[in-house]
Amino acid sequence: MQEFFQLPVFGVFISILAFAGGREIRKKLNYVLLNPVLLAILFIISFLLIFNIDFEDYNRGGKFISFFLGPSVVALGVFFYEKYEEVKQNLKVFLLSVAIGGVSGILTIIIFLMLLKVPRFIIESLASKSVTTPIAIEITKLTGGIPEITAGIVIAVGIFGNAFGPFILKKLGIKSKIAIGTALGTAAHGIGTARAFEESKLAGVYSGLAMCVNGIITALLTPYLLLLFMGSHA
């Protein structure tokens, strides 16, 4: 039976099935913590544990799915071009907000984890926690962290931003929809952006663009900021 699960089609099928199932559940019960990706991941992990299937065997098929992350990042460039016109009016302020927000996201996570004495490979895996999963994974590959840890935490950050972001920002006195959208995209990538679209169309567009811009900023700076704070590998 183990050999059967080593067929790539198993990993491909269960990924698609779990994701489709997660979306159906979300449609029926509209509750924010029931994120389709989270449900799909929990379902697949449970399935693998129950049937005693190694992750490596699942990933023989899974890697055909995750391969598409590469072209998807390129597709974000097209999305950016399409929506770029809509933010032109506030472009400078928008870029300033994403740049400073994005950099403070990287700096604070590195500093907090260092203060809490978390091992280096975890800090390297989490430095890019605010940006969209495919970009965060690539950054982690360059910094020496573990991409799977990055993916798990990035998804958690997105769900946190999606569930609590607008509430926290409103409590802190933020009124502008554009501000809320930009903040969600900068701090909580695509999953935060989904929530921004619920606030308003314009907030969603700003959020999506903030996600792309912070992806680039974080990709460019993270390796250097890690080096600056932690020194090079011994």
């Binding site: 992750f55 390129v74 460039g77 071009y81 399409e82 506030n90 302020v93 400073i100 984890l113 360059l142």
Partner: protein, 110 residues
Amino acid sequence: MLKALAYIFGFLLLGELITYFFEIPIAGNILGMFLIFMALRLKIIKLQDVKPASDKLIKYLVLFFIPYGVGLMVYFEIIADYWMPISVAVIASTIITLYISAIIIEKLEK
């Protein structure tokens, strides 16, 4: 659709090619994202030539990172030892990022 896919994969390959030859510390796909944006801005390629493929890819973006999320199971025990400091640091950092980013727009927006 086929043309659009060819463009997307072409720019991805171009990004990979540049990082391969110049050893720049940035991923090929991120460079590809930047290059396709520039190509659209400079009107080297047309939006309608790439849009069919890019829309579909973005629509299913979250499906594509499920395998990495599942991979977390391999490292579960390692990070379980640090779940408390990780949670505190990640939540605090995320709230600070949200606030700094939002307050700049709130104060300066036209």
